[in-house]
Symmetry: C2
Subunit: 155 residues, 2 copies
DNA sequence: CTTGAACCTTACGTTCACGTAAGCTCTCAA
DNA sequence: TTGAGAGCTTACGTGAACGTAAGGTTCAAG
């Protein structure tokens, strides 16, 4: 147990660069688990793992540009991994169960990867286009500057 | 003049994969020009260039994940390019003016490129992370399968 | 010239992803 | 024990990005 539930919602928000409201909202829509199995009314408590999870959520949200609902689907992979780890800590795991969890995690990871690669490819194309346009503009600028003052340099 | 203003808003929407409402909205907030300098009340008309512009807007929106307001800023580059081309078609362009437009286009293109490259780098990191996780899951699966049936193969 | 489909403007409605306020409660250090 | 600061729930508010409906107009085909 590297980290006992020691973070309060405000700490978690600050560490992740977001707000408490957002965390509660994510919990409300099922994107995050119920902050430390607390009894309703008392304070939510989190640990390092929760922080990582939240950061992952924010990263995927910003990079993939998907809705929180779609993100929820995608994040089932993280849940599978978590379940796997917790079951794995005990030694009485049935291999069939273990194998099923692994396969689930694999499939979901593959879906994520495909999405990421598609977007990365699109972004690369965009980058190439922009770079080419920039090149053309540069050449025209040089052209002009040469025509104006055959012996000057930059902007 | 490759393309006279021949597309109606419905055609443009279909070709770009969006809706007429969206196009009107983009015009309303100044993201797109006033559909063919028409007199208010009559139909908007577009050409191939408008289609390209709209597609570029949609591409940047989806890939950069910026607000339409920020996008408007970024797209000033396209406007500079358009202005440049139209002034360039005449031959009486003052070099100073031309140079200024080119510099504007260059600076805005550079801003776009920086944004795109930052996101591309983030996406690459994400892809690497996911690939590594997937690799681990794969190895564990193989491990299990070997332990179960020393001579079988796949999923 | 007459349709009827597509378009026009205006304006209100909607969904998502939170922000904000109110009134109460929990926690922890003094 | 107590007080204040952070947290809790509930609920209404908000901005962005459109959707949708109403009532009138334009345009291309016949």
């Amino acid at each position: 147990m590297t980290a006992a539930q020691t973070l309060r919602i405000g700490d978690l928000a600050r560490l992740a660069g977001t707000t408490a409201r957002t965390i509660r909202y994510y919990e409300e829509i099922g994107l995050l688990p119920d902050g430390g199995a607390r009894m309703a009314g008392s304070h939510r408590l989190y640990d390092e793992a929760d922080l990582e999870r939240l950061r992952e959520v924010m990263r995927l949200k910003s990079l993939l540009g998907v809705s929180l609902d779609e993100l929820k689907e995608l994040l089932a992979a993280e849940d599978a991994r978590a379940a796997l780890r917790s079951e794995l800590s005990r030694d009485d795991v049935e291999p069939d169960r273990r194998r099923a969890l692994l396969i689930e995690a694999r499939d979901l990871l593959e879906r994520q990867l495909e999405l990421v690669r598609l977007r990365a490819a699109d972004l690369d194309r965009l980058e190439a286009d922009l770079a080419e346009r920039l090149g053309r503009v540069h050449r025209k600028l040089v052209e002009i500057d040469v025509a104006r003052q055959p012996a000057v340099a930059e902007t």
